[in-house]
Symmetry: C2
Subunit: 249 residues, 2 copies
């Protein structure tokens, strides 16, 4: 049997794939050049999280719009020609799975994991509602070289707190097996409904919120293969995992 029959496919948006530009490992030694434009990235999804060149702030993508929370806590829309060293996007097609009330962050993560019922697949999390408390951070990266390591950049992060805030907590769960390519476990960002507050979630207390989940069959890892610094780097896999756990959790 021969399987070479060539065929053309009319693609509608693929809602089964989590797309990632970059590998989390490259942030560790500070390979923070923006190697993909936001415009290119958004061909692969309308929803997601990421960061800009130099690890500059926290990105939240929603309904095709890209927002940056910077280290001063300000939120702005990002332009198509800005660049990312690392980001995840997907085309949103999630499903309501639960209403959650009065949970701390650990209990929230437990409830999400229980609702999905497997630790072995990638999925998107979206939690929309009111939060009694949300604590976020935003990193203050240099926007031009030389870039700092992940550990050094994370050490200068800003931390923000909001009480009784309405908004959306969104991001991804990645199985532990793929740590190094990804930040294993939950990686969640927040954006308030009024777009005045957000960042990488460090802690949250759910008031009343609706949980939406989107499971992915495919994880597409897109690497900056033409970037000379990326090609030349000697990654220490064990060190990468230690630094990711330190900086991202």
């Amino acid at each position: 049997m021969n399987f070479t029959q060539r065929e053309c496919v009319i693609l509608t948006h693929d809602t089964q794939t989590l797309y990632q530009h970059g590998t989390l490992a490259l942030l560790v030694p500070g390979l923070l050049a923006g190697t993909q434009t936001v415009g290119e990235l958004m061909h692969h999804g309308d929803t997601g999280i990421g960061t800009l060149t130099g690890l500059n702030g926290e990105l939240i993508m929603r309904a095709g719009h890209v927002y940056q929370v910077n280290a001063d806590g300000a939120v702005r829309e990002v332009d198509a020609d800005e660049r990312v060293p690392f980001a995840n996007v997907h085309f949103q097609d999630d499903h309501q799975v639960a209403t959650l009330t009065g949970l701390d962050y650990a209990a929230l993560c437990d409830q999400i994991a229980a609702a999905v019922g497997t630790q072995n697949i990638f999925y998107a999390v979206r939690l929309v509602g009111t939060f009694a408390h949300v604590q976020t951070r935003a990193v203050r990266g240099r926007t031009t070289p030389p870039f700092a390591t992940l550990a050094a950049t994370a050490a200068t992060q800003s931390i923000f707190n909001a009480e009784h805030v309405e908004g959306t907590l969104s991001g991804y769960y990645s199985p532990a097996l793929y740590g190094g390519a990804t930040s294993p476990g939950f990686h969640l960002h927040f954006l308030s409904a009024d777009r005045q507050f957000g960042g990488h979630v460090l802690d949250a207390q759910v008031g009343n919120a609706t949980l939406f989940i989107q499971e992915f069959s495919d994880f597409q890892l897109h690497l900056p293969t033409t970037d000379a610094s990326f090609r030349q780097e000697q990654f220490d896999t064990a060190q990468v995992l230690r630094d990711i756990n330190q900086a991202e959790h």
Copy 2:
């Protein structure tokens, strides 16, 4: 700026993506049910390597044909409705990079690595020519449940040797960072020009052969997300990496 503009894309075959069905970790505890048909798999490439349900033999895909080397050393063509627990395919668009003469296997791997010049990206290897010696193995998996673990199956493998053989050594290089999803480093299979000899390469002595390389920007990991055994498994990441290194190298 809004990036939601919907568009349809006419796809020609994507030669930038290495597609993988399954994750290498699922072989370790013996999750060896065939979760994708060979016909479905071959929509994602015309070239590759893999195994059948139960870890039954070694697959070599070439020009849209799929060959199995079984544990008796026999080679046959595989049908579209047979199934794989794990396989890699891509659409071949490789480039000649070197002519190699008189190398043992370690020197061969060093020469390939030097020709590519980076350890950080996925690429396909194809080496076509004469070999003074090739040693292969083929695993003898059960074709029906209950399936054995990777270690137990590998322990019953058959080993084959051929001298002065013409053929093609083909497969992939995966960066160490993605061990667990993949077998890190080189994962190469062999098929003789007369299709009488092949398998998973354990050793080789190159006579005179031409090296072709195809770098990938994208690694697409497709998981069997509807398989109950896969969803329920509790993977021990450290154990997975130890068992993969034991069985695949």
